[in-house]
Amino acid sequence: MSPDHRPSGPRHRLLSVLVENKAGVLARVAGLFSRRGYNIYSLAVAPTDNERFSRISIVVDVESSPLEQVVAQLDKLINVVDIGELHPDEAREAELLLVSVSADAGERSQVIQLVGVFSGRILDVGHEAITVMVAGTPETLDDFESLMRPYGIEGLQRTGRIALPKLEGRSSAIGARSQVADIA
């Protein structure tokens, strides 16, 4: 993966899209991207604390189309309630990675050691392989992935980025103004 293709590279921007929790909404969002030739780098969707709404975190490849146009087209979807761009230095970002790595008895301890460095967890251990979980920033996961590669990756799944705005200050955490830039 070249540096420019990393999800934090200049090509990639993170949109946090609040949508009505209705059937087919994800298809509307995904359909818009394919119809207009926009590229999605990653996408994560789940309900919010309000059951009426879900939040979709989309990492957009802005080389395919200007972000402003992507946002304006997304905003036309009737079920899209709010769109914000989360700038990396104003957001807390996380991603989850599961990976099964080839590791025989001789290599197992090295892998477990690296998992410990990245504060990961061992999910499964077999005779020839080990499955682990690591959570962190996308960059951290990129690093972990590259460290695992020499052992032989048998299966890998990442969730895509999710994010929320950074809180303004610890003392005023409750009711802090959203730092999601409202560009919708």
Binding site: V19, E20, A23, G24, A27, R28, G31, R35, E68, Q69, A72, Q73, D75, K76, L77, I78, N79, V80, V81, D82
Partner: protein
């Protein structure tokens, strides 16, 4: 009061003051067709679902009110996809109701099942699958609200058969609850002030009026802006009629087949005021060479259009009428404009108009025109349009299909009133004219409605003339029969070394007069210029059934001016005899 879902749907349509539904029943929509019998709403039974969709579009074009179409599931729904796509491109308010298999059968490949909401996702402003009869009034209210507000467009309600048969307690919602839908209305005063300042500074301004003028009912406001500022206006294909062609400041249509002055005025302008227009590729030509010296003010109700093609100096997100009214006030408040400030610009425009009019080699009676084969003079299609215009009331609604005849209609008709031009602009849907004319006449029975159609187009949807006869809708169709898919032929002539591939249709197959008569219409045939006006007058006198005139026109005629696809607007090609006269 307890209603079935079907009754609730029809009642909801009545609450929305729907006066007519264009439709065709089938299995899944059957329950809804029962309460239709008892409804005050007129239902017009079409012969093909595409016809229902284009009729609803024609109705909406002519009245400004949403058109309503109703069809069954599966093939009924897929047959209406083209009109939905057409309405989506041209921002036409349409409410389409499709039957659907019972909710328990959805996803099982049931008989006449199709994923209608999935299929129409990309060609509707929004769509709904109703899964609970108690949602019906809310969904119908939302559907009409979404279709008619903001940038108008088609919406679709997919209506499963079991939901139609279920019962619900009737209610009518106070309003709509759409937390993600907030169409813009008033313009930002700072942006209006910035636009006004550009108006004062401009030496070569042009107003670039688009279909948004008609959608926002801004014709009167535009007139006031023009009369106040003296700025000349071009009206796009979708905006023909929004500003009268007879006005001294109307330059007519720009674009690929626009007239020389309209095209070149935009190219040389130092200020373009785009009002409800979207910098379509057929208007801009090669974008990087379009209006290179112009500052741009872009008023649009759709944020995604502002800056999509051309980044404006001033973008104004607002309803077009409200923005124009605000601009008029801002200009008045800034003091008088020097009336002579545009003198040099107007002199240039007038010189172009005199030098490069829209023209053709005339062959009308008395012109001593072209004679072919030593027999009768060739009938020029442009002459038919001019004769039609001369013999019809000024508020006649003109409908067209897509192709050469459409361009000639736009070029040679004089549009004086808003909502008198009905055509398929963005999608370019052949076969649009006959059903759209029927829909327009249903919406405006007081108006004369003429369709100018091509022979290729006519064959795609002519069966709806049976609908028109059965429903006593007296539309008039002028087929400019040149025996070819003429626009394709023109491109093969110009860009494919006259290698004509699959474009010949024959003037006699089908027999258009016989076909018209078999559908209960009056059929007439015109082969020479002398016969044109008498035939039109005869058609105008018939008001109890449709009339079809088969005009046998010159197959060789081509549409000029023309900006070749992908070329700069500076490379506009004018009519051959004009360019020869220049050399």
């Amino acid at each position: 009061m307890e209603f079935t879902g079907a009754q609730a749907l029809v009642k909801s349509l009545e609450m929305q003051e729907v006066e007519v539904i264009f439709g065709l029943p089938g299995g899944a929509i059957l329950p809804v067709y029962d309460p239709i019998i008892d409804s005050s709403i007129r239902h017009i039974l079409v012969r093909h679902e595409q016809g229902a969709g284009h009729m609803a579009e024609g109705y909406a074009h002519a009245t400004g009110r949403p058109g309503v179409a109703m069809v069954t599931s599966g093939p009924g729904a897929t047959n209406i996809v083209t009109p939905l796509a057409d309405a989506y491109m041209d921002s036409i308010p349409l409410v389409c109701i499709t039957g659907q298999v019972a909710t328990s059968a959805i996803g099982t490949d049931a008989f006449q099942e199709s994923d209608t909401t999935g299929i129409t996702l990309g060609v509707t402003k929004h769509n709904w699958l109703v899964t609970d009869a108690s949602d019906i009034p809310n969904v119908v209210r939302e559907a009409f609200h979404v279709a008619t507000t903001g940038r108008p467009g088609p919406v679709l309600i997919d209506f499963p058969k079991d939901v139609a048969n279920d019962t619900m307690e009737w209610y009518w919602p106070e309003g709509v609850d759409l937390p993600g839908y907030h169409p813009p209305s008033h313009a930002d005063p700072a942006a209006i002030a910035a636009a006004a300042a550009l108006v004062f500074a401009a030496e070569r301004p042009v107003i670039y009026a688009g279909g948004g003028i008609l959608k926002s009912r801004a014709s009167a406001a535009l007139r006031e802006l023009v009369d106040l500022t003296g700025i000349p206006v071009v009206t796009t294909l979708m905006a023909r009629g929004s500003f009268p062609d007879s006005h001294r400041l109307c330059l007519g249509m720009p674009g690929m087949h626009g007239n020389y002055t309209a095209v070149t005025a935009m190219q040389r302008a130092d200020l373009l005021i785009a009002l409800g227009s979207r910098f379509d590729d057929r208007v801009t030509g090669k974008v990087s060479a379009f209006a290179p010296q112009a500052k741009v003010v872009h008023v649009d109700i759709d944020k995604a259009e502002i800056g999509k093609v051309r980044r404006p100096e001033v973008g104004i997100l607002a309803d077009c009428r409200l923005a124009i009214e605000a601009l008029v006030e801002a200009i008045k408040a800034s003091g008088p404009l020097d009336p002579g400030r545009l003198g040099a610009w107007m002199a240039t425009l007038h010189q172009w108009q005199a030098e490069f009019p829209c023209t053709y080699d005339r062959s009308d009676p008395g012109s001593g025109g072209v004679v072919t084969g030593g027999r009768r003079p060739t009938l020029k299609p442009q002459f038919v349009i001019e004769a039609l215009r001369a013999s019809t009331p000024s508020d006649t609604i003109l409908v067209s299909g897509v192709g050469q005849h459409q361009m000639w209609a736009s070029q040679y008709w004089s549009f004086e009133h808003p909502n008198t031009w009905v055509n398929s602009g963005g999608l370019g849907t052949m076969g649009f004219a006959v059903p759209a004319a029927i829909g327009a006449k249903v919406g405006r029975p007081d108006r004369m409605v003429w369709a100018v159609d091509g022979d290729g187009c006519f064959q795609m949807t002519a069966q709806e003339l049976a609908t028109a006869t059965a429903e006593r809708i007296p539309v008039k169709i002028a087929i400019l029969n040149n025996a070819y898919l003429g626009m394709v032929r023109q491109w093969q002539h110009m860009f494919y070394e006259e290698r004509y591939s699959e474009v010949y249709l024959s003037p006699d197959l089908p027999d258009y007069v016989g076909w018209a008569e078999s559908m209960g219409c009056v059929g007439l045939r015109v082969e020479s210029p002398e016969e044109v006006t008498p035939a039109i007058e005869k058609a105008n006198d018939i008001d109890d059934r449709p009339v079809v005139i088969d005009f046998r026109t010159d197959s060789m005629e081509q549409v000029f001016p023309m900006v070749p696809a992908g070329a700069s607007n500076d490379d506009i090609v004018v009519y051959q005899s004009l360019s020869e006269a220049r050399q």
